[in-house]
């Protein structure tokens, strides 16, 4: 029996939604465990860019709180805008390496200090017996691998995605320590900022994305890529072999790393032509680093991908295949060879279908900021009750779904925050004000329907 279309629709959406869900779940768990432990001790007020102006205390009147929160949000948004413009300027003048190193540094900093402090409080809460040297070593290793995975090409994509989620969790957990009113106003302000920055002409994020796409480069920013991992392709039937190949190419020795990456990437390109547009950039990018090491293969790749840029995907497949075979010959791995052939056949039938799919020929990328602020909303909801958490989660995920559908319709970069945040906040307050008394009233009388 042929596989039904149910299995192929929506894969991309799930590919984005599942890491977001994981991120939110972790944040909620962290907030739950940590807030219950630290509620007794006096809450040390943290001062960040998000509450420079006004420090909320519970004794203030609502108007004071609102004004202060508005000011805080305004300052924060201005701050972010300035930073983003600075980023655009730096990127415009080709300080790409500086930007990448800065990103690496900030990753190190976030993972090391913020992550470390969360790590410590988790250790304290569960009273895990760890001595300081082990703890330091673990943390240091974790951090270094994280930094390496952010922009270097040798890392498996799963690791990179994992670290992106980690970063999101850590930053979001820190943001949930902001006072309540500030959080809400800040979320609204950021949603509006996101809307303006991505859609308005001259918006910084719009400029950045356009610049990156005109240069055919990867965005020098922390972005989650929903590029399907090898293991995710399991469900489409040719799983066993593919998984095997993936496993092999991931665990190769270091000298072969670039090579095997090449072949893995090539086959990835094969499998998902809808990712070509974005993917080509990546691969192209990687090639630069590989050229010195592998002049022959590098050259071939270059040819292959330049020609595959347009709509002639059929041709690119052929070229792809050829070069993969070359790589494969060097590796003397008959498995990969076989796979490529099988894939080519499969792909011919799949291609036109995939192009009409919900997401038009682009891999989905989600900024880390979106991860963070979704999780902040859910984390803040977790401080009230579980019911609001579920409601907010559903609202945010459905907002994300709407955004993805819009993305398919518009076919350009879209802000991911506004719809989700609006729905999330709406559902939070509806749940808190309307639903909670209703549900508690009926459920405690053991009435259900």
């Amino acid at each position: 029996m042929e596989s039904s279309i149910l299995e192929s629709i929506g894969t991309e959406m799930i590919g984005v939604m599942s890491p977001v869900s994981i991120c939110m779940l972790l944040v909620v768990l962290l907030v739950y465990t940590l807030s219950s432990s630290s509620s007794s001790s006096s809450e040390a007020a943290i001062r960040t860019a998000a509450n420079l102006v006004y420090q909320e205390t519970s004794t203030d009147s609502p108007t004071e709180k609102l004004e202060g929160a508005l000011l805080n949000a305004l300052v924060f948004v201005i701050f972010i805008t300035l930073i983003t413009f600075l980023l655009v300027v730096l990127y415009y003048y080709n300080f790409t390496n500086f930007l990448k190193n800065y990103m690496r540094f900030s990753t190190f900093f976030v993972l090391g200090t913020m992550g470390g402090s969360i790590f410590l409080s988790v250790i304290q809460h569960f009273s895990i017996p760890v001595d300081s040297i082990t703890c330091f070593l673990l943390l240091f290793n974790f951090t270094v691998v994280g930094v390496l995975s952010v922009f270097s090409e040798g890392m498996p994509i799963v690791l990179r995605q994992g670290y992106m989620v980690c970063l999101g969790v850590i930053v979001a957990t820190w943001f949930t320590k902001l006072p309540e009113w500030t959080t809400w106003v800040l979320l609204v302000a950021l949603a509006i900022y996101d809307l303006v920055a991505v859609l308005a002409p001259g918006g910084p994020l719009k400029l950045l994305v356009e610049l990156a796409s005109s240069r055919d480069e990867e965005l020098p920013a922390l972005v989650y890529e929903a590029r399907p991992t090898v293991s995710q392709n399991e469900r489409s039937g040719r799983s066993g072999l593919m998984l095997l190949v993936g496993g092999v190419s991931d665990t190769r020795s270091v000298e072969l790393q670039a090579l095997s990456r090449g072949s893995a990437d090539g086959s990835e390109n094969h499998r998902n032509l809808e990712y070509t547009a974005v993917h080509v950039e990546n691969v192209e990018h990687e090639r630069d680093s590989e050229v010195e090491r592998l002049p022959l293969v590098g050259h071939l790749f270059r040819e292959g991908f330049l020609s595959s840029d347009g709509s002639s995907s059929e041709y690119s497949t052929v070229v792809d295949n050829r070069e993969n075979e070359i790589v494969v010959e060097e590796e003397t791995s008959p498995l990969v060879d076989m796979m490529e052939l099988g894939d080519e056949r499969e792909q011919g039938g799949r291609r036109d279908g995939r192009e009409n799919d919900i997401i038009v020929d682009k891999g989905i990328k989600l900024g880390l900021g979106d991860f963070v602020f979704y999780s902040v909303l859910v984390g803040r909801a977790a401080m009230y009750d579980l019911m609001t958490v579920y409601a907010c989660y559903l609202a945010i995920i459905s907002g994300l779904g709407c955004t993805l559908i819009l993305l398919a319709v518009c076919g350009r970069a879209l802000p991911a925050l506004p719809i989700s945040i609006t729905l999330g906040i709406l559902f939070y307050f509806l749940t808190r004000l309307l639903m909670e008394p209703f549900v508690v009233g009926t459920a405690t009388n053991l009435l259900m329907f």
Binding site: G10, L386, F427, L430, V439, N445, L446, L447
Partner: protein
């Protein structure tokens, strides 16, 4: 220990749905999206209902008839929503079939249609369990439990988890029954679903009597089993029909 109790209650209410989710739904991304959408729809229905009833809350917990009205209106509203969901599903099915034609893949099989219905039902059921049972479970993870006066034999969390399990079953499978009933124009199936839902809702009113939960919960489970049997029979009938029809074609 208390964490174990909390997890136990959660699994009691949601364990079957979890295994259903992993074994059937999780393999097909589209079904996951269906579950999410249907959960959201149920949440919206609950919010609308609570918005309407908010003015009358809190109801006195001594008289039972306001609760009866509440249940009747809620069930009515949700059954109305089910009809709407069916219309939306019809349209979706057309879109999916058109899409399948375009990519030259087979149209939706009967099992696919049933799986979509199952996913829709599962969304409703899970939403029910999450909002009526799971969201009240927070204290169960702490170092105490809670009894209510009318049902002093069993902890409140355990009772609500049991009731939630029954309702999850009813919601999940009644969606399959309802969709098949609509598709075939079968009046019995079409009326069976709201009837079961209403009766199950009314049965929870028995819990108002002191010690009523001892009687109420078995009746509720009778309803759930009835739904399961009916659904199983119907699915079996349709599958055998379908198979014999396919046999005739070949």
């Amino acid at each position: 220990m208390t964490v174990a109790a909390g997890i136990g209650y959660t699994l009691l209410a949601l364990g079957p749905s979890l295994s259903l989710f992993i074994s059937v739904i999780a393999k097909k991304p589209f079904l996951i999206l269906t579950v999410l959408a249907s959960t959201l729809l149920w949440l919206i229905s609950l919010i609308v209902l609570s918005g309407v009833w908010r003015a009358f809350l809190p109801l006195k917990s001594t008289t039972w008839w306001p609760y009866a009205i509440l249940i009747i209106t809620s069930v009515g509203f949700q059954e109305g929503l089910r009809v709407l969901l069916w219309r939306a599903y019809k349209r979706l099915e057309d879109i999916l079939d058109a899409f399948a034609d375009r990519v030259s893949k087979p149209r939706l099989f009967l099992t696919d249609q049933m799986q979509i219905a199952l996913a829709g039902g599962l969304g409703h059921g899970v939403a029910h369990a999450v909002f009526f049972c799971l969201s009240l479970l927070t204290p169960a993870f702490g170092p105490a439990t809670f009894f209510i006066d009318r049902c002093a034999q069993i902890p409140f969390f355990l009772v609500s988890a049991q009731i939630a399990l029954a309702f999850v079953t009813i919601h999940t499978f009644s969606m399959v029954i309802a969709f098949n009933g609509y598709a075939q124009g079968n009046k019995v199936d079409q009326y069976f679903v709201p009837a079961i839902h209403l009766v199950a809702g009314m049965v929870t009113l028995v819990n108002f009597a002191s010690g009523g939960c001892v009687i109420g919960i078995p009746i509720l489970y009778l309803m759930a089993v009835l739904t399961l049997i009916h659904c199983g029979k119907m699915v079996f009938r349709r599958l055998t029909e379908n198979r014999s029809r396919q046999g005739n074609f070949q």
